[in-house]
């Protein structure tokens, strides 16, 4: 095969059996790879009723066809399992170089099944696969684990691993590769921990066959030039994603103190401009990226001192305004801890924000404060709680279940800013209507990145600009972003590539790479197919249209201050049109005709 390797690696951790199977060409053509291929394999093999932390759940790592090639900003991989946080399908995406290493080792996907009797790690050197004892690594943080595994295998191995949070089944534990890049959302790290799988080290020395080298080069250089010249790509390089703090705050849509408000007067202190000035040491890119939005950072303040990467916008918001904090050093330190301990840096701070809210409201009794000072703006608190969550110490043991289950324990789940029990991120859906529709309908629970309507509603997209306060056109917009993103994820791309490249660019590169002719419409259709396959799994898992909703606070409590004062989400007005645009029934179920059209039935 071209573009695809043509091989799937299957590792049964219960029996230790390792098998290699051919990739079915039809699956590759229809589902592309990464998110699509892994979802296809997962939904074919795993019943929707599976307990996410049982050996019967599977954990699939998959790069895409672009991964490992020179396609610009397209070297990523996807992790699919059933999520212990949401009970939906989980799909977590990460950059770095791990995906390319898997490809060069000769695999389009690695499927982990069962559960090892004791902690293990897996060492993959091209065709050789070893399951090794990891007892000595259990309990180690991500940086030490990565160094030790490299020391025992190959200095050039790429390592994806869990930290203590994954071992201890924190429901929003991440999988970290190259220490600092995260497959962050949905608790895929807990699934890995439940299998006693501490790490995967990969060294690949093979390559990726290309159907038409000249055509690929032409398509890549054309797309690359467009992306590199785009002002958004250049802006991401200059200040990283944290640049968004100020524009969201000035719009009045920066969720503040657990969505009690949408405006934070001192937000600039945790924004990208401040980050560049105060903690940035250098910029860093993922495999084959022409943007390099990664931030290598160092904090000098002895209270929060350390080195690492990030924060991205979401974490700076979460550990900043969402907790009422305007201390960039603390937010940076807390983000470093998320990477070192293996935590999702959105759900972790948003869960902390919920706990502070419960405490400030008198719902969380002082006897449960675990000796800490629970109040808005306490920078030391958010750092300390991050550690306690990952290590499941004191109150951290309960917070490890995420904000929904935590707030529910105290009888007030409405304090949890979640959709399908996953924390919603850093764009206030009361003032930006389209993103609320994405939060409510995303197949992995509350998430912005799988249908980033913000690009058209706030960030002045080249193609379409829609007033964030209006609902007109938003159902079609959300669907278009969701389908395109699914295709980009499935082919190994980074969604930031879409700031400069369009479906025609991706289709031209994919056709030249694989030798399978994709039009722009075929490419987006693959994304729609994947979206529907995920939806069908969730429906089988018991979700219904009732779950496509937002926290009551976002629907009913207007933003209190700032430019978006008085606004609430108008989700109920948008949902019927969204279902209709998707070819679903009014109950959000894909129609038989739609499934046939997508070759899913």
């Amino acid at each position: 095969m071209n573009g695809w390797i043509g091989r799937i690696l299957r590792i049964d951790l219960t029996t230790g059996a390792v098998t290699k199977q051919p990739l079915l060409e039809n699956d590759a053509v229809l589902f592309l790879g990464a998110r699509g291929l892994a979802t296809k394999i997962f939904t074919d093999e795993v019943p929707a009723s599976v307990d996410p932390l049982s050996p019967e759940n599977k954990l699939i790592f998959a790069p895409g066809p672009f991964t490992g090639t020179l396609a610009p900003s397209a070297g990523r991989y996807h992790v699919v399992a059933k999520s212990p946080l949401t009970n939906t399908i989980a799909g977590a995406n990460s950059g770095g170089v791990f995906g390319a290493a898997v490809k060069y080792a000769g695999y389009d996907a690695i499927v982990f099944e069962g559960k090892a009797e004791r902690p293990v790690y897996v060492w993959i050197k091209d065709g050789r696969v070893e399951i090794r004892d990891a007892s000595h690594l259990w309990g180690k943080w991500v940086p030490d684990t990565t160094d030790l595994v490299r020391g025992e295998t190959d200095d050039d191995a790429s390592v994806a691993c869990i930290g203590p949070a994954g071992e201890k089944l924190v429901l929003f534990a991440s999988i970290q590769n190259e220490m600092h890049r995260a497959a962050g959302r949905g608790g895929v790290g807990a699934v890995m921990g439940s299998k006693n799988l501490k790490a995967i080290a990969v060294r690949g020395t093979g390559g990726v066959r290309v159907a038409d080298v000249k055509a690929l080069e032409a398509a890549v250089w054309a797309a690359r030039a467009k992306l590199a010249a785009h002002p958004v790509a250049q802006g991401l390089n200059k200040h990283g994603t944290d640049i968004l703090v100020n524009i969201l705050n000035e719009t009045g849509c920066l969720p503040t103190r657990n969505y009690n408000d949408g405006h934070f007067p001192t937000a600039d202190k945790v924004g990208g401009e401040s980050l560049t000035k105060e903690v940035l040491t250098r910029k860093k890119g993922c495999f084959a990226c022409v943007i390099s939005c990664g931030r290598v950072t160092r904090v000098k303040d002895p209270k929060f001192a350390g080195e690492g990467e990030g924060p991205e916008y979401e974490a700076a918001w979460g550990y900043g305004p969402d907790c009422g904090v305007d201390n960039l050093d603390a937010a940076t330190k807390a983000n470093h801890l998320c990477n070192e301990l293996g935590l999702d840096s959105i759900s972790a701070p948003a869960t902390i924000a919920c706990a502070i809210d419960l405490a400030e409201s008198g719902v969380l009794p002082a006897k449960d404060f675990d000796g800490l000072d629970f109040r808005w703006g306490n920078a030391e608190l958010v750092v300390e709680l991050t550690k306690r969550i990952a290590l499941r110490e004191g109150i951290g043991d309960k917070l490890a279940l995420g904000s929904y289950r935590f707030a529910e324990m105290y009888g007030h789940p409405e304090y949890s800013m979640t959709v399908k029990k996953q924390e919603i991120p850093a764009y206030d859906a009361r003032g930006i209507q389209g993103i609320g529709l994405e939060y409510a309908t995303c197949n992995r629970g509350g998430c912005h990145v799988k249908g980033y309507t913000i690009a058209a509603e706030v960030l002045a997209s080249d193609n379409v600009r829609l007033d964030p306060r209006e609902i007109k056109g938003k159902p079609a917009l959300a669907k278009a972003f969701q389908d395109m993103t699914a295709a980009v994820d499935a082919s190994g791309g980074c969604i930031f590539g879409t700031f400069g490249m369009v479906a025609d660019d991706y289709a031209a590169m994919l056709s030249a790479l694989t030798g399978v002719r994709y039009s722009a419409a075929d490419y987006v259709k693959a994304g729609e197919r994947i979206w529907n396959l995920e939806r069908v799994f969730n429906l089988k898992a018991g979700f219904t249209a009732k779950d496509d909703t937002l926290p009551e606070r976002v629907l009913k409590s207007p933003i209190k201050t700032g430019p978006s004062k008085g606004l609430v989400s108008r989700l109920p007005e948008m949902l019927p049109e969204y279902y209709s645009a998707r070819g679903w029934t009014d109950q959000g179920v894909p129609s038989p005709e739609k499934l046939r059209e997508l070759q899913l039935a």
Binding site: P231, V232, G235, L236, K238, H239, G240, T241, D242, I243, L244, N246, I247, E250, T251, G252, D268, G271, G272, E273, C293, E312, Y313, E314, H448, V449, Y452, I454, A455, V458, L459, A460, R465, D467, R469, I495, F496, F499, G562, P563, S564
Partner: protein, 89 residues
């Protein structure tokens, strides 16, 4: 009127924000004056006589794309934000 600068616009203006005591009937008039005051900024604000496609301007938190663009009328107590086009997530 308060004018605030962000991203790589900020170093071009050499300042985070400034009070603007003069009355300007609309955004075009304000930007013309800002361009005269901060020479480095001028080329970022305009493409010909239109707003540059590389910036986003908010008036009281609303993108002027959804107001009246460069003809958006201004009041003395307005807050005007000047951003580069940017992205992330």
């Amino acid at each position: 009127m308060r004018v605030k600068y962000f991203g790589d616009i900020r170093p071009l203006a050499g300042i985070k924000e400034e009070e603007w005591p003069h009355l300007h009937p609309d955004l075009r008039s304000l930007l013309n004056t800002l361009g005269q005051r901060h020479a480095a900024l001028r080329n970022r604000l305009f493409e010909g006589d239109q707003l540059s496609s590389t910036i986003i301007i908010l008036v009281n938190g609303r993108s002027v794309d959804f107001l009246k663009g460069i003809e958006t009328p201004l009041q003395p107590d307005d807050i005007v934000d000047v951003f580069p086009v940017e992205g992330g997530g």
